[in-house]
């Protein structure tokens, strides 16, 4: 199910769609489908509480980009970079702000370099902790737990059409 809603934010039209999934496998598959026409230079801001399925969502994106290595949680190292064999995207940058209070550490590990790189896709877990680092044209993904298995995935992206 999907309900489009259009609202203007700082001059850019954003489109919000919502989906329901009932298992981690479904969440991953949803991400894979949505990411199949992903453009290089996209920043995806992921929000959702512990265990909502954020890393699972990133696994789906990685699959869509043809990444075959295991995408593990980057909580410990803050950022993991995956080289990608894809016609437009060179690398997937997987960031996790779970432990952070501010953005200076992400600057320290070199995130900004990738945020302004037109050949990278950057996915930021716990993006709500570093609002100043999230570009205004980022795609926002909010995952909410309905119960132990069911999740709603709400995706707000700038409408480029």
């Amino acid at each position: 199910m999907a309900y489009p809603a259009v609202r203007p934010t700082s001059g850019i039209y954003h489109m919000t769609r919502a989906y329901t999934t009932t298992s981690p496998a479904e969440t991953e598959e949803l991400a894979r489908k949505l990411a199949s026409d992903l453009r290089a230079g996209t920043v995806i801001a992921l929000e959702g509480e512990l265990g909502a399925g954020k890393t699972v969502f990133v696994k789906g994106i990685a699959k869509a980009l043809g990444i075959t290595t295991v995408v593990q949680s980057p909580t410990f190292v803050l950022m993991k970079v995956y080289e990608v064999q894809h016609h437009a995207v060179r690398r997937l940058v997987h960031v996790d702000c779970y432990r952070l209070d501010g953005s200076s550490d992400l600057r320290a590990v070199g995130l900004e370099e990738y945020l302004h790189d037109s050949t990278s896709v950057v996915v930021i877990e716990w993006a709500d902790k570093v609002p100043e680092l999230v570009p205004h044209d980022a795609t926002r993904v909010r995952i909410r737990s309905v119960d132990e298995h069911e999740r709603t995935v709400e995706i707000t992206s700038p409408d480029r059409s």
Binding site: P24, L50, V109
Partner: protein, 342 residues
């Protein structure tokens, strides 16, 4: 041969001088300066602070490690080149390169995970004396950032059998400790709570236990603990030890099940448990039990060498001494994503 080991891949600054020869080695000097107290308030390592602290303490620690002896007494310099936090790695690597150039001593870069494997050599003189008898060895590496099952056929010969599909085992400990509002680091906190708990009290899931292959998963277990806590709403204090013990048991069960399966398939002659989580008593006991049941030698690092330390880096450097070079100071690069299989 005297090996100077340098380790700064995360939040421990460590230096060691290892006196090593064929069949015998001992740590002459060994210092670890931990930053855990500093990072505790953030619930984890803060890269920028970690890097600054490495810079501050590295040279005083070097002075302390070497003492009155001339630095030229060192025959080889071994440094962690990755994986780890980029900002932390660069401090140690830069220091090692400078020393190598200034002292004209050969330099070798060590993979941090391989270093952990060699922590088993520290304090196990029988393993040092006759290493070949322990090969192939099945090595379980468990820490805050890693969970890997590796078959070590000989020095430098590794096959990665399995790894975590999501969270590292140590990360699960940290996250569950946070759910229980018990602070950081989670390993010792959970382990202590679990001492007085019933490991069979709650039947938490054992993810991927039934799957073939050796990959593991701990993310769903963390989520299960979260839902257990939410459903109960109010958790009486007396129940915390049971939750901790049941969670810990689920982690141990997953790790040991995959280990046992690998023993059956590959028939190793020894079993090694290394990495920060190898300090966990329940896991040490479980692996020791498996080893004695199957008549395998079990090598566990001494507790003081389970965490990040330069002693293990020096040992790994010693076994890689053939790759050391006087010219490496020009080209050695730190790599936060350094792959394990070299």
């Amino acid at each position: 041969m005297k090996v100077l080991g340098i380790e700064t891949s995360c939040d421990e600054t460590s230096l060691a001088v290892l006196d090593a020869r064929e069949g015998e080695m001992h740590l002459e000097k060994y210092i670890v300066s931990s930053q855990i107290a500093t990072h505790r308030e953030y619930g984890g390592v803060v890269p920028e602070i970690a890097a600054r602290m490495h810079c501050e303490v590295l040279l005083p620690l070097l002075q302390k490690t070497i003492g009155k002896k001339p630095l030229s007494a060192v025959d080889l310099i071994a440094v962690t080149a990755g994986p780890g936090l980029i900002t932390s790695l660069m401090v140690g690597v830069q220091a090692a390169k400078t020393l190598s150039y200034a002292l004209r001593k050969p330099l070798v870069g060590v993979n941090h995970l391989e270093g952990h494997m060699y922590s088993a050599w520290l304090g196990n003189s029988e393993l040092v004396r006759d290493t070949e008898r322990s090969f192939p060895a099945l090595v379980l590496i468990v820490s805050g950032g890693h969970t890997e099952l590796v078959l070590m056929r000989g020095h430098g010969s590794y096959t990665l059998l399995g790894q975590t599909a999501d969270d590292a085992a140590g990360e699960a400990f940290d996250k569950v400790a946070k759910l229980l509002d018990r602070g950081y680091p989670g390993g010792p906190v959970i382990s202590k709570l679990a001492q007085h708990g019933n490991p069979a009290a709650i039947d938490f899931p054992r993810p991927m236990l039934a799957t073939t292959g050796y990959d593991m998963s701990f993310s769903g277990l963390k989520t299960a603990v979260r839902y257990y806590l939410e459903k109960k709403r109010r958790i009486p204090r007396e129940e915390l030890p049971d939750i901790a013990a049941s969670f810990q048991q689920a982690v141990v069960d997953v790790l040991t099940a995959k280990t046992v399966r690998a023993i059956d398939e590959f028939g190793p002659r020894s079993l090694m448990l290394v990495g920060g989580v190898s300090a966990n008593n329940a896991l040490r006991e479980a692996l020791t039990h498996i080893g004695s049941e199957r008549q395998l030698r079990v090598w566990l690092p001494a507790l003081e060498h389970t965490g990040d330390n330069a002693g293990m880096i020096a040992v790994a450097g010693y076994y890689h001494r053939d790759e050391a070079s006087l010219k490496l100071w020009r080209t050695l690069r730190f790599d936060p994503h350094l792959a394990f299989i070299i």
